[in-house]
Amino acid sequence: MTPFEYSSPASLNEALGLLGSSWSDAVVLAGGTDLISLMKDGVFSTKRVVNVKDIKDLGGIHKTGHGLRIGSTVTFDELASSPLVRGEYPSLHEAALGIASPQIRNMGTVGGDLCQRPRCWYYRGGYGLFAMKDGKSLVPNGENKYHAIFGGGPAYFVSASSLGPALVALGATIKLASSSGSRTVEAAKFFVTPSDENGREIDLKPNELVTEILVPSASGVKNATYEIRQREAIDWPLATASVALHMKGSSVAKASIVLGHVAPTPWEASQAAAGLAGKTISEDTASQAAEAAVSGAQPLSQNGYKVQLAKVAVKRALLAAAGKAHTAHHA
């Protein structure tokens, strides 16, 4: 590991003052479950690591007038065990519970989940975000069973965020702070597909850090997340779907369907969601929405199966949200 300076500020202002104009100057450390392995494997290096776990303002889950405020250093375990989350936001609760192992859930944070880097094995093996060799991506003719089926090229990795799809579906916003002020970004716009190799998968500048996540009230919004992963034990998802259904009586007024681990960002299936308006959720309408959600998929040589998995995840998430089946995140 390249030597670096470590600082552990107690206040947000102090932390912001320690950040730099590029990530090679300074980077934020929270749970460390991703950053430390990136640094140990030599995929990433920086001059300064700024630990934010001691900043009290960045913790805690509170109800606000408009919904829920989740501090960026809230751990997955805190999120999953919060009655506020479990009661009103089952999609977020399920998404947090599906993450890795108890050890990781005790360390990893909400902010870290949003800011973590892709798990693409070419990226982790040192071939860069676009997995390039000799000016050509290794992914299309390579080992791509875990890669993107939507939005692929030149980025074929999938967003590793487990909470992202649920936050997008719930219409959450993400608050970012820098020494020059703060700004708020819709979760749906926070995730971006980088256009160049050195870009980031999120709308975050090197001098900013995620301070909190604001989730609008979901009272009367039926929501669920369904995750499909190979191992029941600790594993990355192969595909997930998070749905939020704004109801009018027994029928859907407005729906949101967001797929996870199928694209370089959480992937909104807007047309499929629009098609649910005015309908009640049944096997049939859920299947139709699921079919529509994957209609534009462009699978690679080895990941056609993920189209099927994404479809099943959408259907089961819709049925779970409607209280009809599949409340578990894993079959």
Binding site: W121, I228, Q230, E232, Y305, A331
Partner: protein, 722 residues
């Protein structure tokens, strides 16, 4: 007279045993569970230096230059060694190129990174699943023909042809390969992670030109070996040389997880086209296999003469095998080398043949039991496993599994193994204060060896297990074989039995006069030396030992594999049958283990508890390999992409399902003596799970592991995708 007649070493009759045959918790269980047990990867002798190895990132390359000057300048670095100098050809990714030692792990890792190596990249092959792309890397072995397969296939009532595959997987030892090595004068201490305490010193000595007598090996515990930890290896040599260059200070080299998965051994792949035929009654008449595999650069990989597996007496056979040389780390023995692969390919083809004949595969496996070498054993085990699985109730014709998305299925796998005891010597000492020591240069791989040695000694001496001080894991103890091939339990139990019988005979001779009898009239029961048939005449164990005065008794016992068969303490040759019960979600392609039922014959069981544990562990490994494990390599770049525990997947506890063990303990099996049980239960699981999935979803998933992509592709191929 006791001094001239051969002592009676036979195991006591089943009914008379007090210790053997009764479950005993392992002696080091609490230590291991609490973390008190020290593995050699845990130790830190005073002044210990950290070693690190620079590995080659390329699959095949020639070193054109290597510059260690920057590494040598890093503070704390004590030695830098070039393993592959300019002109040397590196044949697989992860191969060792240079090594360093330093006063901290960080400095050692920094130094490795500071070594500059220029390579000339050379052509490589890292994948063998498609034999048509192997070119001149493929070497066919000669065809073996028995009977008249062409005629038999022509005359057959049913013929099935299919393709099957099982990829390269690795050992994934929890404790990686490595060692700590230190010099003191011309003597060397080696703390390895080894399956071969008695032999590894000699292996290292040969490589560095040091007499084995000057190498002291010590190992209390090992965190998994599975066949991959016999030799001293290059990291042993490098640690010894780095230590020497650093004034003899201890040097620790344990491989990081990535290197462990790349170069510390793997199980060869097996792919093939199988053709199998039967007459109208389902009797198998002909077999043809065209298989290929890789065991790394040397090709090899598979003993194709094991086809057709277990059903050896199929009268007409044609066997072809091609070994493919790849630029990947070399294969090592993997818990029953060859057997999982040939079991998977054979049992899959038989199950598919049964489906084609619309016959119950249980009936087909039973009907053909006369084609095995142990008809009675397979017949009774198949029936027992079927009974435990409630086969009649739960089995259905292939694909006939109801209308829901989740389909349940059952499948059978079979196996066979040797497992006779290896050469082993034991020294048993009875001290005048009554304490007992039993010494063997053996090792406890986590199988419970320490415990069964104590149990055998306790049984013989009429003492509780806690009274026996077992000393293993040190090369100064009498030599005992490497733990491979399921040979340990037979070896150490026999040598311990003989040594303790010999020592007890000496004690009888010493105390007989004071009991007014002759030694042959004495027995050791419940901490007493008793005159047979007259319990009023006895001495406590301690009182008896005091009669030794100041002289301890120290007697040896030996298991010699050449003479062991006629002595009857241990033997080899077992059968095993497993039935898997799975549920498959046909919408997601996810396979869930319900149950894995394991029926094994095993001779005389010393400790049923650790014997069952062996089978549990083996079944878990089968679930891992059947459902999750594969080494993924990219032919574009010559790299293995998943040398980690993230995408090289092993089952977690939620994935394993219920494991039901039936040990075939019976007077007939008991008479055979002790037989090893490490390997046999690792064999049938892959086949059983694959067959259960085929039964559940109505179509064969030809290649392991049975991941969502493969299961869904198989379902799509039959048009049954939900």
């Amino acid at each position: 007279m006791p001094d001239t007649t051969t002592p009676n070493y036979h195991w006591p009759p089943m009914a008379d045993r007090r210790v053997i045959g009764k479950s005993h918790s392992r002696l080091d269980g609490i230590q291991k569970a609490s973390g008190a047990a020290k593995y050699n990867s845990d130790i830190k002798p005073a002044g210990m230096l950290f070693g690190a190895i620079l590995t080659c990132p390329h699959a095949h390359a020639r070193v054109t230059s290597i510059d260690t000057s920057e590494a040598e300048k890093i503070p704390g670095v004590t030695a830098v060694r070039v393993i592959m100098g300019p002109g040397k050809e590196v044949q697989w990714g992860g191969a060792e190129v240079a090594s360093v030692s330093a006063t901290s792990e960080e400095a050692a890792n920094d130094a490795v990174k500071a070594i500059k190596v220029e390579y000339e990249e050379l052509p490589f092959l890292v994948r063998e699943d498609d034999i048509s792309k192997a070119g001149n890397r493929a070497k066919a072995a000669g065809e073996q023909v028995t009977g008249d397969p062409d005629k038999a296939f022509q005359e057959a009532a049913y013929t099935h042809e299919g393709d099957y595959g099982i990829p390269v997987i690795t050992h994934c030892c929890l404790e990686s390969h490595g060692n700590v090595v230190a010099w003191e004068g011309d003597k060397l201490s080696l703390w390895p992670s080894t399956q071969n305490v008695s032999g590894i010193g000699g292996d290292l000595g040969r490589a560095i030109n040091v007499s084995a007598a000057n190498i002291h090996v010590h190992q209390d515990h090992i965190g998994g070996g599975f066949g991959s930890k016999f030799p001293a290896d290059l990291w042993g040599v490098e640690a010894a040389e780095l230590s020497k260059q650093s004034g003899g200070k201890p040097v620790k080299i344990f491989l990081d997880r990535k290197t462990e998965l790349l170069i510390a051994g793997n199980r060869p792949s097996a792919f093939g086209h199988i053709k199998v035929a039967a007459d109208k009654d389902g009797k198998i008449t002909a077999w043809e296999s065209k298989t290929w595999s890789t065991g790394g650069l040397a090709g090899g990989g598979l003993s194709a003469d094991l086809f057709p597996y277990v059903y050896r007496k199929v009268p007409n056979r044609r066997i072809n095998h091609t070994a493919i040389s790849t630029n990947t780390g070399s294969a090592r023995a993997w818990r029953a080398p060859n057997h999982e692969q040939v079991s998977y390919l054979t049992c899959s083809a038989i199950e598919d043949l049964a489906a084609k004949m619309k016959m119950d595969p249980l009936e087909v496996f039973l009907k053909n039991a006369d084609l095995t070498m142990r008809e009675e054993a397979y017949t009774s085990q198949l029936k027992k496993a079927a009974e435990l699985a409630d086969w009649k109730k739960n089995w259905h014709q292939r694909g006939d599994s109801g209308s829901g998305a989740v389909k349940r299925g059952l499948g059978i796998g079979v196996g066979t193994w040797g497992g006779a005891g290896h050469a082993s010597q034991c020294q048993a000492t009875i001290h005048p204060d009554g304490s007992v020591e039993v010494e063997l240069g053996s090792q406890d791989l986590g199988t419970g060896t320490r415990t069964i040695i104590a149990m055998v000694a306790a049984e013989t001496l009429g003492l509780p297990v806690s009274a026996i001080n077992v000393k293993i894991g040190d090369s100064t103890y009498p030599p005992s074989g490497a733990s491979g091939g399921s040979t340990t339990v037979g070896g150490v139990s026999s040598s311990t039995r003989k040594a303790t019988v010999n020592a007890l005979d000496k004690l009888f001779a010493a105390v007989a006069p004071s009991l007014g009898t002759t030694p042959d009239k004495l027995e050791a029961v419940d901490r007493r030396i008793v005159v047979k048939g007259d319990t009023s005449k006895s001495l406590t164990w301690e009182a008896a030992c005091r009669k030794l005065g100041t002289n301890k008794i120290s007697e040896s016992g030996e298991n010699n594999p050449r003479t062991a068969p006629r002595e009857g303490l241990n033997t080899g040759g077992v059968a095993g049958v497993q039935i898997a019960d799975v549920s498959v979600d046909t919408e997601t392609g996810l396979v869930k283990m319900n149950r894995l039922i394991a029926v094994h014959d095993c001779g005389l069981i010393i400790n049923p508890k650790t014997a069952e544990s062996q089978i549990f562990g083996a079944c878990i490994m089968s679930v891992c390999s059947a459902l999750f494990e594969e080494r993924v390599a990219d032919q574009q770049i010559g790299r293995v992409l998943n040398p980690d525990m993230e995408f090289y997947k092993l089952a977690g506890i939620m994935d394993i399902g219920e494991i039901i063990v039936h040990l075939d303990i019976s007077p007939e099996n008991d008479k055979r003596g002790v037989i090893g049980l490490g390997e046999p239960p690792a064999i049938p699981g892959d086949a059983a799970i694959g067959n259960a999935v085929a039964n559940a979803i109505g179509v064969r998933v030809p290649q392991l592991p049975l991941t969502a992509d493969r299961v869904l592709a198989a379902l799509a191929s039959k048009g049954g995708n939900a």
